[in-house]
Amino acid sequence: MGLLSREAWAQRLGAFRASPSAYMAAPEGEDLGRDLLSDLRSEKLSEQTKVSMLALSLEYPAQLWPDAPAAEAAATSLLDTLALLPPRPSALRRPLLLAATTALVTGGVLGPTSGASLRLLPLLLGLASGGDLGRRFGPSSDQRPLQATACECLRELESCKPGLLGGCLGLLRGLLGQEGPVAPVQPLSLLLALALRNTLVIQARARASLQGLLTVRAPPPGGGPWNWTLAQEGEAHLQPQAPSWPAAEEECGLSALEPSPEEARELRAAVAQLLDTSYLLTPVAQAQLLWLLGWALRGLRGQPPVLFKPQLVRLLGTAQLALLHAVLALKAAFGEALFTAQDEALLLRRLTLAAQHPALPLPAHLFYLHCLLSFPENCPLGPAGEEAAPLLLEPQLCRGLLPNLLHDPMALLARLHLLCLLCAEDEQKEEKGQAQSPCHYLQELLAGLQQRAALTGGPRALATLCFQASYLVALCLAGHHTVLAPLTHGLAQLYRARPALAPHFVDLLDRVAPELGEPLRVVLRQEVVSRPGGGEALRWHLQMLAKVADRDAQSATLGFLQAAAAHCTDWGLQQALLRVCRALLRAGVGGGLADLLQALARQLEDPDGRDHARLYYVLLSHLSGPKLGVALGPSLAAPALTSSLVAENQGFATALMVQEAPAPIRLSVGRQRAEGPVPVLQLQVEVLEPVYSLELRFRVEGQLYAPLGAVHVPCLCPGRPARPLLLPLQPRRPAPAQLDIRALYTKSTGLTCYTHLPPLPVKFADLFLPFPKLPEGARLGFFEELWDSCLPKGTESRLCCPLGPQGLEALVSRHLEPFVVVARPPTSYHIAIRLPPDSKLLLRLEAAQADGVPVVLRADDWAVLPHVGDYLRGLSAAV
């Protein structure tokens, strides 16, 4: 785009400011940054236009030159423009310096590799020191403001890159101390204080000494290269840093710095020098200086804060917000070391005074009140970070700080908080004269607020204020019945006078603790149900009732609803009515509600409403209480919708459908019992959360067993031992199997869940059953008979079962005891096992030999042999 006229630029800048993002997104945005830089050198544009162009670049450099190369190029161009200015007074020099500084910082290019940085820094330092460079640079009339501006630019660079000026401390001190035609005090003081603070912090973190930084006066500009070492260390530390506030004590870490006596003396001298001339600074700059020096010296060894003392009396007398705030910062930083108990009391009194002084504006009052309740006490008692009345703030001092109805809402709330704190203390002490007690006054005030909120047609802000006050009181005075009882009563009266405030009441009930919430709920319910159901306020009553209705006073509530139903002619009212029904359903109200719902299902005009009433009726008659509660509970998916339908559908979907869930149940197979007609599996069950109505369903792959019945457990709790569950097995073939298990259960929230548990193995041995016990003499014969009967249909096998160290006896007693028919320990055992449905397995175990126990086995079903082999090998491994 070519050269633009003044008007065109004004228009362009205006369009940009109206919405920078929209402007830059449009095609004309593309060239703005470039055009701006080139037109700054145009001779046709006035200085005023150029200043406004520069002003734009000061505010939106990131939009004009979005990346680092562009920022670097822009800064270079700005510096070139500056160098090209004719040697006469010009309004452009200051903004050009500011703009170049801004571009470097926001583009993130400030550093030793940036050409523009290496040009700008010596230029700024040269200007700031008021040397020859400055004189060459522009006419003498521009010198002083440029000197100040250069200091400001350096300060900004130091703020964004701490340590940048660490090498210039000595130089800056020299400039500040200069006699004769002097540099401007304020910019130099602030620059020195900031550089000093940053240097101390960086050196302390690096555990380095001050290395004579305070005294070296060799100026780097002109010739030598810029010293970036400190800045590079500092860079890592431009991170969230805590101010000089006590809570952040540990993070300060200046104590790591151990200046030598000489360094300590120099440091003290530098600080004293800054403080001595601080009266020459504007009040806001004085405040900045105090914050910086407080930061710099806090925690530093050998630097007693008494240096600040001469300033304090002067500062305490002023009404200046920034100054008093800075004094509080010093108080927080140094505590008793700077403020004796008397000083603390005086500061507190000045603060109390400032918080109510008629000559000060309201925002200042409120800020001082905040400071009062966050006052950095020498000996704090309460928990840190919580607003509280300081110990020295006697009730007598607070008299003028108490709220009254004429106060602005914010002032009223802030002062109300203080009053509540006083009431809390007052209650702890003895009851004094009733009329004067803060609690009594609080009640009067609340009554006044309620009266105002009750005004029909009054602004909502008044109602809001009344509820905010009630909330604050409930919060601060939760246990104070003497305050809460009249408050509850007053709120009930307010509702009676202005039911349209129902949304405020609902909001309040949602937020206050039960100390106020419960009694308030009861009186509000009484308030609503004691009215005839009808009239303009019906929708508010229904909204209120949906919040406060529960099992108590059912008949009155239902009576009210019955009466109200006739007046619910439109969809909104019917919805409101149904919402109350829903609340009652959730609360577990039964009988009367069923009648009401049936009546509504017939009577309501709106088909949707009728359907709904019917649905509720069905739910009420079919679902158990807890389940109903969950079905109608607030849905997580759709928290607040005007129509109950959508919310409900979400709720039903979750509550009435079975949810698939990760199992809170663990099953394991316990020890086998080996008795009775069929094998019975003992299942151990553990749960991680309470589980109700548990049903376990089992299935066996491949029809090895007859179908298994489900097992039911009414209730299981974690940590409470459960009896083993017995699962009878009816094998169709004697073979091990996998049980596939599914669980269906209800959680304590009422949701029904379904889950697939990990499969459980039924081992071959789990199927073993003993033969009936016979008298001693008949056993051998019985065994031989069985042994013979196996052949020829069955099979015989010999194998050697490797034996562990315990020997044969142990093996038998541990695994085969119930099945032993004839025992001749330790050399011979005859074992007979029944394998349902109708097989048998017979074993002869002989005395152990070197390679194991010789086993002869017979079975009437050859198909079991592989299982037997596995079993016997498993035994030896198990022993």
Binding site: V185, V284, H357, G457
Partner: protein, 490 residues
Amino acid sequence: MAQRAVWLISHEPGTPLGGTVRFSRRYPTVEKRAKVFNGTSYVPIPEDGPFLKSLLFELRLLDEDRDFTESRDSCSRINKTSVYGLKVGGEELWPVVAFLKNGIVYACVPLVEQTLSPRPALISISAVSQGFELLFGIQDFLYSSQRIDTELNTKLSQLPDLLLQACPFGTLLDANLQNSLDSISFASVTHPQKQPAWKAGTYKGKPQVSISITEKVKSMQYDKQDIADTWQVVGTVTCKCDLEGIMPNVTISLSLPTNGSPLQDILVHPCVTSLDSAILTSSSLDAMDDSAFSGPYKFPFTPPLESFNLCYYTSQVPVPPILGFYQMKEEEVQLKITVNLKLHESVKNNFEFCEAHIPFYNRGPITHVEYKVSFGQLEVFREKSLLIWIIGQKFPKSMEISLSGTVTFGAKSHEKQPFDHICIGGTAYLKLHFRILDYTLTGCYADQHSVQVFASGKPKISTHRKLISSDYYIWNSKAPAPVTYGSLLL
């Protein structure tokens, strides 16, 4: 200690947006630091449009408060300072310092040099008080002289240049913008001596010192057994010192006559160099006794160029200047009112003006008045439902005057008649407006001879005094009235 951005927004009720951004300034280098300091809790500064909308909503300045809106009306959203969190694009921008004054919303966002979650206490954020100072400074600059709209526009148009001087990088250098304006014109002066930053140049011309003491008296009178009347004097001492030299020293002493009321709660201008501890500790927080410090109150200072408020004080005078009662009773369709006012004999009976305004809130227009006054005359503003009793320059010899009458009202129409949320039912007040020149209620005066000036040339010293009423209420004693805690301590 820096600001990330500053705005001035004119509040325009009834317009679609509710207001217009008249001025805004962003500080990108500060924003860069905010990003680092705030870390993950960083919320960027929005553009003007979204900021305007969100701020006006938060300050309840949009016209849409008909329905309950949780994000604004919820009882747990309690703001106790002029510092807000603004919902912008789903995030909360905090802290936003903002207040409304004379139809303009002043706002800025102070830099917090740490993470914002958890939120640090305001007291620990140095930039908050700096932000207040900046906004107060802008406000003073805009309204330092008579308010005319064109002048306001001129001043608004000067703001960009002024902030370039006073706050080039977001760190405030001088809250006194007038001083910055002057420093532009004084720029060419060379300085052989250390020059205070709060003084742009030096004065050349005839030396003169002007001191004026303005006392405002406020009162709440109830005429009730169980409620104490209250009254208080608030004084402001304004100086303009036209003296040559860079740092002329001046000491002004305020004196009281023998029966004068001690000055308390003294706040001084930062140019005051030292303060007697008796001045620092004299406070209305303590119970009064005879040992109270009663002056002379010495204020040594180095004056700035412009007119400034040397100090503020309060005082508890033994009696209110005018004591009165107001009785109002509803009798069927009309109100019966009786007013009695008595000027205390010690008060100078020579007013610039004296009026009693008797408003009737939450009622219809006045349709009929019958009255009798013992002194002065009564003006009736029917549509405004207001009576003004013009008492004039002097109370009669008896020092006591009265008004009685009946007032009848028409039907209430909401738009026209004044609404008030205090004056409900019988609760009503009358408000006194008066001014007495060359007089202070405390007796406080600045003796010309006690003014010491250490500068070349003998200056001409002029002193002025005046007493004005401010919030001087007399409440209807026949109905409840709002009371302060102090009123209950009989």
